[in-house]
Amino acid sequence: MTFDYIVDPTEPERAGRASTKFKGVLKELGVSPKVIRALSIAMYEGEINMVIHANGGNIHCEVDADKIRVIMKDSGPGIPELDKAMKPGWSTASTQARELGFGAGMGLPNIKKWSDNLVVETEVGVGTTLTMEFNLT
């Protein structure tokens, strides 16, 4: 089964809609609460990043028998220093984003922590794609 979401960049205060929707879908599918929590946290962080660092984007979710894959793709500025960005505390968030409580530099580390597998593909000026996987077994 696949599910697709578009992330609207215009309202940072409201970001998190796709994650909340997909969380509802997973509940209906009877996925275990543990997996749902891990996935929603990781997907939420990815979604926020798409809004505050890129210009929104697309999320494609695949639910298989043994795993769930979430692919988050944006055409934003890309991440020039990915190794730094993966470390807790490193952030380039704007003042506006910081006022909303974003910008701790904890999003990508959270995604890494909560997913069973994470691949980040990023190119400056082209965009960023996160592929995260969650095991169901």
């Binding site: 998190g16 962080e45 409580g101």
Partner: protein, 109 residues
């Protein structure tokens, strides 16, 4: 202790009545959402000064039992609506975050 028990603290006011039967076994203070997302424990009473709608997403996704907005800040309209939909309790207090946390401790948390 449940969310309902927290209503006995007279400095706390109810802004949204969510699931009041959720257990509260610990507390967390923080205004940086990803830090709360990464470190708050489940069944927390979460004290923050953020009042925009994303706090509801953080609380729901992280499994926080109740949000306590300190310093007299009021939740945005969006926040109230979404918290109702998600069945998350929001309390407000005029106290600063430290004093609010003290109340929780005095109360036995």
């Amino acid at each position: 202790m449940t969310v309902r028990d927290l209503l006995a603290i007279k400095e706390f006011k109810v802004a949204v009545e969510g699931d009041m039967d959720l257990p509260v076994s610990c507390g967390y203070m923080g205004d940086l959402l990803s830090v709360v997302m990464g470190y708050a424990e489940e069944e927390s009473a979460w004290i923050t000064i953020q009042s925009h709608v994303n706090i509801v997403a953080v609380a729901t996704l992280r499994g926080v039992s109740a949000i306590i907005i300190a310093h007299g800040f009021e939740p945005d309209e969006d926040t109230v609506e979404t918290a109702k939909e998600e069945n998350i309790t929001i309390l407000t207090t005029e106290l600063n975050p430290f004093e609010a946390a003290k109340k929780l401790v005095e109360f036995g948390l």
